[in-house]
C-alpha cells in the first residue's frame, strides 16, 4: 500500500470514528430538517390564531346590512375576521383594549373617498399581511364605487369580465426546439442550495485540515512522519482523507435528511402539501360567509404549482447539475484545503490562525454575496467574472448553472479551477514543508513568502 493511501486511511478512519463525527452525522439531519420545518411550523402557528378586527365605519361605504345584521364588505379569511360595530365611539376601545380580545380597530373616516386613508389602531404592531389584505379589499371596493358613479350600464358584469390576473410563465426552449416550463424560484433555490453547500463544505472541512496540521505540529509527531514520507504526501493524504470524511458525512446527511423530512412532513403537517397561498385561496373560495371574489383564474394557476415545480426540476438537467456540483464541490475544497494547510503549518496554535485566515476566506464570502446577486441576474458581468475566477467560481458558478450556462464558460471556469488547484497545491507544498518545522514564531504572510523561495 502506498504511503499516501496509508495516510489517507488514517485520516479517514480516525475521523469517522470520532464521537463528534457520529454525533454530527445524527444531529446534522435534524438541524437540516429543523431549518426546513421550523419556519413551516411557525407559519402554520401564526395563521391558526384567529384574529378579529373591529371596524368602525363612519363612511358606511364598507357596511352591508343583511338578515344577520351589519357585516363588513372586507372579506374574512380563515384566521382573520372583520366585525362591524356601530354607534360605539373609537375612544371606548382606547382603555383596556387588550381585555376585549380584539386584534385591532380599523377606523374608516367619513371622508374616505377624498382622503383615501383610514387608520388602524392596536396595542400590537399590525402585521403586513393584515394591512395588505385590508388595503387591497378597500381599494377594489372604492374602485367599484367610483366607477359606479359614472353610471355605466351593466357595470357589475363589465367589471367581472375585465378582472384579470397575469401570470408570467417561464418557458425555456431547448436546443431541439422543445419547450420546457420552468419556475425561476425553483431554479434559484437549487442553485443557491448548491452554492451554499459548497461554501459550508469548504469552510468546515478546510478548517479541519488546518486543525489537523496544527495537531501534528503541536504534538511534535510531524518530524517523525516527514522522516518517513515526503511532506507533500502527508499534506495531500490529509487533504484527501478529510475530504472523504466530508463526503461521507454529506452522503449520510442527504440520506437521513430525506428520510426525516419526508417522514416528519407526512406525520405532522399533512396540510403542508398545499402551499400557504393555496390555503388562503381555498379558504376564500370555500368559506360560505366570505364574499365570493372573482378569483377563479388565480385558483386554477395555483393548483398547477406542484406540476410547475416538477417541470422546473426536470428542466434542470439532473446529471449536469449533479456532475457540476460534484466537480465544483471537490475542486473548490481541494483548492481551499491546500491554503488552509498552509495556514496550519505557519502557526503553533489555533488562536494564531485568525489573522492569517481572513485573506483566505474573503473570496469565499465575496462569492456568497455575488451568488445572491447572481440569482436575480445570472448572466450579468459580475456573476460572469466571479464564476470564472477560481477562488469564487465553485460558489458562484453553482447558482448560474441551473439557469443554463454556455459550455465554453463552464469549461473555462473548470479548467482554471483545476489549474489553480494544481498550482496552489504545489506552492502550498513548498510553504508547508518549511512551516511545519518552524516553532515559536508568529508568522506573517511576509514570512510565508520567504519560505516559498527556499530551495527544496
Amino acid at each position: 500500500m502506498s504511503k499516501t493511501s496509508l495516510i489517507i486511511q488514517r485520516e479517514y478512519l480516525t475521523r469517522i470514528r470520532k464521537k463528534s463525527f457520529i454525533i454530527m452525522s445524527i444531529l446534522g439531519p435534524f438541524i437540516f430538517a429543523a431549518y426546513v420545518l421550523i419556519p413551516m411550523y411557525f407559519a402554520t402557528l401564526e395563521d391558526k390564531e384567529e384574529k378579529t378586527v373591529v371596524v368602525i365605519d363612519d363612511s358606511k361605504l364598507f357596511t352591508e346590512y343583511g338578515p344577520g345584521g351589519a357585516t363588513c364588505v372586507i372579506p374574512d379569511t380563515e384566521y382573520l375576521k372583520f366585525k362591524i360595530i356601530e354607534d360605539v365611539p373609537l375612544e371606548t376601545f382606547k382603555m383596556g383594549f387588550d381585555e376585549t380580545g380584539y386584534y385591532a380597530v380599523l377606523f374608516i373616516p367619513s371622508n374616505i373617498l377624498a382622503s383615501e386613508s383610514s387608520l388602524i389602531y392596536s396595542t400590537k404592531q399590525t402585521s403586513l399581511d393584515v394591512i395588505g389584505h385590508i388595503e387591497s379589499a378597500m381599494d377594489s371596493e372604492l374602485e367599484h364605487l367610483k366607477l359606479s358613479t359614472h353610471e355605466i350600464e351593466d357595470i357589475e358584469r363589465i367589471l367581472e369580465e375585465v378582472e384579470t390576473s397575469i401570470d408570467v410563465r417561464n418557458i425555456k426552449w431547448t436546443k431541439d426546439g422543445e419547450t420546457q416550463e420552468t419556475n425561476t424560484g425553483v431554479i434559484m433555490a437549487v442553485g443557491y442550495t448548491g452554492g451554499l453547500l459548497i461554501f459550508f463544505f469548504i469552510f468546515f472541512f478546510g478548517s479541519q485540515v488546518m486543525r489537523g496540521v496544527i495537531e501534528e505540529k503541536v504534538s511534535r509527531i510531524i518530524e517523525v512522519i516527514v522522516s518517513s514520507v515526503r511532506p507533500f504526501q502527508l499534506m495531500m493524504g490529509k487533504i484527501i482523507g478529510v475530504g472523504l470524511t466530508g463526503l461521507t458525512q454529506f452522503v449520510i446527511w442527504i440520506i437521513f435528511s430525506a428520510i426525516l423530512i419526508t417522514g416528519l412532513r407526512a406525520a405532522f403537517f399533512p396540510e403542508l402539501n398545499r402551499t400557504p397561498t393555496e390555503q388562503v385561496v381555498a379558504s376564500d373560495l370555500f368559506d360560505p360567509e366570505a364574499t365570493p371574489a372573482p378569483q377563479g383564474p388565480v385558483g386554477e394557476v395555483e393548483l398547477d404549482m406542484a406540476q410547475e415545480i416538477f417541470a422546473s426540476l426536470q428542466s434542470i438537467n439532473a446529471w449536469v447539475m449533479i456532475g457540476s456540483f460534484l466537480f465544483y464541490f471537490i475542486f473548490g475544497y481541494l483548492l481551499y484545503a491546500a491554503m488552509f494547510a498552509v495556514i496550519g503549518s505557519a502557526v503553533d496554535n489555533e488562536t494564531d490562525t485568525q489573522q492569517l485566515i481572513f485573506p483566505v476566506i474573503l473570496p469565499l464570502i465575496l462569492g456568497i454575496y455575488v451568488m445572491i446577486s447572481a440569482m436575480n441576474n445570472p448572466d450579468a458581468s459580475l456573476p460572469f467574472w466571479f464564476s470564472i475566477i477560481p477562488f469564487t467560481s465553485p460558489v458562484v458558478m453553482m447558482v448560474r448553472i441551473p439557469f443554463g450556462v454556455p459550455w465554453w464558460q463552464v469549461i473555462l471556469s473548470g479548467s482554471l479551477l483545476v489549474g489553480t488547484f494544481l498550482g496552489m497545491t504545489w506552492v502550498a507544498g513548498k510553504v508547508y514543508r518549511t512551516g511545519i518545522l518552524m516553532y515559536g514564531k508568529k508568522n506573517s504572510y511576509k514570512e510565508i513568502w520567504k519560505w516559498l523561495r527556499y530551495s527544496s
Partner: protein, 317 residues
Amino acid sequence: MNRACESSGANLITARAVVKDFSGHRALNKVSMEVPEGSIYGLLGPNGAGKTTLLRIINQITAPDEGNICFAGEQIAPEHRPLIGYLPEERGLYKKMKVGEQALYLARLKGLSRQDALKRLKVWFEKFEMGGWWDKKVEELSKGMAQKVQFITTVLHKPRLLIFDEPFSGFDPINVNLLKEEILQMKSDGATIIFSTHNMASVEELCDHITLINESETILEGDILQIKEQYRDNKYLVTYDGDPERLTGGLKPYFKLLKSEENGMGKQATLQVMGSGGSGELIRNLVELVEIRSFQEILPSMNDIFIQVVKNASGKK
C-alpha cells in the same frame, strides 16, 4: 538517482561541505562528517550549533543548499528512507490515537507490512513490559511511557542507520540503562548509530567517533580515544602518605600543584607537568617528598574537552 558518491572506505554516511541557510542565518557552514559503518557516532555541540539541521538533512526532511550526503556510497534519495530510523529531540505522538494502532501506522509508513509490524511489535511490547498498553490512548500514558513507544517505532523496522537526538531525556535511570543495552545490541547486530546529546558521560560510554559542531562549523572530529590522547594535558593524580606541606614546598618549578585535599581515599594531590618533563621525573621528585600510594594520569573527560574546545573556538571569533 543512485549516482555513486565518492566515499572513503566503509562509511555509511558521508556528509561533504554541507551548507544550509535560513533567511539571513547560516545554520551549517561547510560541515563534513564521515560515519563509519557499524559505529556509534556522537554528534555534539552547544544548543543552536546546527546539529538538528544536519540530522534533518540526513533524514531528507530538509535539503542542503550546498554540499551532499552519501548513504553507503550512493547519493542519498527517498528510497533510503526505510533504511533510516529517526528519533528526533522534539518528539511526540498523536494524542488521541491508540498506542498499538499508532505504532502499527508509523511502522507501515516505514515500509513494513502489517503482519511483520504486528509480529515485531508484540516482541518489543513484551520486552519493554508494555503488554497492557496496546488499546490505551497516548494521552493516557506518562511521558516516559510515551518515550518508550517512540523508541520502539524508531527501531522496529531494523534500519541500517539509527539517528537518536537526545534519546535519554525524560527516562529514569533504569530505563536509560535498558535503552543503552538495546543501542549496544543494535550496534553488535551491525547497525550504525548517530547519537546527538549533551550528556557527555553517555558519549564516553557509547560513542566510538564524534563530531563537535559549534556555531555552524565543525571544530573537532575523530576517534574518541585519539581525541582524548590529543587533549591530554599531563595531569596526574597522586594518593600519598606524608605531610602536604612538603609537596607545596619541595616540587620542582616545572611541576605545578593544582589541587591538594584529604578525602575518603586519603591525601590526594592533582599535579600538572609543565614543559617537557615526563611522568618519570615527576615520580622521582615525589618519592623524595612523600610516600606514594597510587599514581595515575588524569585523561580529560569529554565534558572538559567539549568546554575547552567550544570556549577556544568562540574566543577566536
